[in-house]
Amino acid sequence: MFHVTGAFLFMGGGIAAGVLNLRAWYAERPSEVALLLRLIQRVALPAIGIGSITALVLGIWLVHHAGYSYGTFWVWAAIVLWAVAGGLGGRSGRYQERAAKEARRLIETGDTMTAELRALVRNPVGNALAYGSGVTLLLILILMVWKPGQ
């Protein structure tokens, strides 16, 4: 039950971050970009952090408790993908932090949107990392349901 709670917080937090990040694309002022990116930090990231740790720790315990083997494909692949998702998400966070910093600077100089801030928010590498992390979470869910190699 609490493993599933962790998974919902982890993956649901990722979805919330994705929705808020996508809305930042369409923000019309730097203050709006800053606000939406701050919501990712204050709501989505804590959910992702608590959920990812809970899902991993209780998942490893469940493998032992339910008599699965750690050498089974779906078990070790899920652990590897968990680490990949964390790595991709962490790297994408740096791009968002750069955009948030630029947005805060622009708020102080008239709160007018610039091409530079728009480019930072829509940075293809940063977004590929963020949404790649989401795809990785989807692969983990597929492994958890189908359990290939079991």
Binding site: H3, F8, M11, G13, I15, A16, L20, R23, A27, E28
Partner: protein, 153 residues
């Protein structure tokens, strides 16, 4: 227990149900956080506009996916596990799912009103409805994953 016993032909409907539920939770969480932020900043257009699109573009499609997956999974499981009637966890899931349709439609309506009028009361109603549904979704996943009331009916 059902997870250990279910045949692979049940996996796809279950995946649709769980995937839809996760997207529904995440998009409702995003809506609630946007509307709660709007409590102090009700005239920030990005908050009202984003709340409306989070409900309409993500939460409602996810609800449809979750509900279709739920019914499909239920149709496969009921003859094997629920011959004596639906267990408590299935009933809780159905009630929260179906009540959720009403809550989401009301949330979308008030979010549309908030976006159009920028009236604080509309944003506050969106915040209350979306937060309520986040809590109900948590109850649903706890009941369903913990198999409250026993695994079989």
């Amino acid at each position: 227990m059902i997870a250990m016993l279910r045949p692979h032909s049940w996996d796809f409907p279950l995946f649709l149900h769980v995937f839809g539920a996760i997207v529904l939770f995440g998009s409702t969480l995003a809506t609630a956080s946007l509307a709660l932020a709007g409590w102090r900043l009700p005239t920030v257009r990005a908050l009202s506009r984003s709340s409306f699109w989070a409900v309409l573009g993500a939460a409602i499609p996810a609800w449809i996916l979750m509900r279709v997956g739920a019914q499909w999974t239920y149709s496969k499981e009921k003859d094997s596990f629920f011959t004596g009637g639906d267990p408590t966890w299935v009933g809780i899931g159905f009630v929260i799912a179906d009540l959720g349709a009403l809550i989401l439609l009301l949330t979308a309506g008030f979010a549309f009103w908030w976006q159009r009028s920028q009236r604080p009361v509309a944003g506050r109603i969106v915040a209350v409805l979306a937060s309520l549904y986040v809590v109900l979704l948590a109850v649903a996943w706890l009941a369903m994953s913990g198999k409250w009331g026993g695994v079989v009916g």
